[in-house]
């Protein structure tokens, strides 16, 4: 009888579910959470900085806004979105390929703004403003060319994108 009881108890013990110790996993998750919360940025601007582009440091603490992004790298290649639209190889006041691209963008923006007005929605982002991301080593000539072209294409407001932690 005793022997039979012992066998049945042993079987019951075997059936008990295996319990995982998740304490260490929880520790890691909490650390990750703190790290991610620290790097959280409430800015509505999302930016993928291209290669060969070193953004200048600044003491500014103003968060970025959604607007067309113009990036110019060390080699004076001009990027809009995720594609190269041309290379600046002269010192003329206006950059033709950038002007054309901005004009197309302006037409699209105006159409969106019109439809948003018709639907009584709030117009997203800043109108007539471009975000300029320039490599810190580039001379003022390039900045002037970009600003001149943008202003002529209907974007007279400029936001210089800079790196924090100065």
């Amino acid at each position: 009888m005793r022997r039979a009881n012992a066998v049945s108890k042993r079987r019951e013990n075997r059936k008990e579910a295996l319990e995982l110790d998740i304490t260490s996993l929880l520790d890691i998750l909490v650390i990750l959470l703190v790290f991610l919360l620290k790097s959280f940025n409430a800015s509505e601007l999302t930016l993928d900085i291209v290669n060969k582009l070193d953004v200048p440091p600044s003491s500014s603490d103003k968060l970025g806004h959604r607007a067309p992004i113009i990036q110019v790298d060390k080699d004076k290649k001009v990027w809009m979105g995720h594609k190269v639209i041309g290379t600046i190889n002269n010192e003329s006041d206006t950059i033709d390929f950038l002007y054309k691209e901005l004009k197309i963008r302006k037409a699209v923006d105006e159409k969106i703004a019109e439809s948003e007005k018709m639907n009584k929605k709030k117009v997203a982002g800043l109108k007539d403003t471009v975000n300029i991301v320039l490599d810190k080593t580039l001379p003022y000539t390039v900045l002037r060319q970009v600003m001149n072209t943008s202003a002529r294409a209907g974007y007279p407001g400029f936001k210089f994108i800079v790196r924090g932690n100065f």
Binding site: L25, L36, L45, S60, Y140, R152
Partner: protein, 169 residues
């Protein structure tokens, strides 16, 4: 046997909190930016058709002429030279520039605009540093307190935060 059962500490069910933390992590991972990105605003100079103001005091017209050797501060319609800040080593003397601008700001507390006139060869990094200098006082410095034209006492930490580049268009 009963006493042994009573002494067992009840285990917390951590699964719901773990689920929530996982979802939170994915949300934060999606919105994380590992480079702190900020902006500095500026505008193209515009021509507007506004009636001239009745105030007959001449405009400040504060201008910085930036060359590779020095920064010259000019003001007024005649572009009178107020100060000239030379380089110390490879960099401009930003402290001296800020001090000069503070003196001008005390006498023109309502003024917020400054015009930058850099040479073509000046690097973008230097321009950003000059813009940082002219926009406001350091966080460790005391704010500027002065009376405006109407006799009202104004306290501000801003110097000339509306930066305009000359000769863009």
């Amino acid at each position: 046997m009963k006493r042994r059962k009573m002494n067992k500490i009840p285990k917390l069910n951590l699964i719901p909190i773990l689920d929530a933390v996982f979802i939170f992590i994915f949300f934060l991972l999606m919105s994380a930016q590992f480079v702190d990105i900020y902006e500095i605003g500026t505008d193209a100079p515009t021509v507007s058709e506004i009636e001239p103001s009745k105030d007959k005091t001449p405009p400040l017209n504060l201008t910085l002429i930036i060359t590779s050797e020095k920064i010259t501060i000019q003001k007024g319609l005649n572009q009178t030279v107020v100060d000239s800040i030379k380089k110390i080593g490879k960099d401009y003397d930003y402290k001296k520039l800020k001090l000069s601008l503070k003196k001008i700001k005390i006498h023109n507390i309502d003024e917020v605009t400054i015009i930058l006139k850099p040479l073509k060869s000046i690097s973008y990094e230097k321009i950003v540093m000059i813009m940082d200098t002219v926009r406001g006082v350091d966080p460790t410095d005391a704010p500027i307190v002065a009376k405006n034209k109407k006799g009202k006492t104004i306290q501000t930490r801003d110097l000339f935060n509306q930066v305009i580049f000359e000769t863009i268009i």
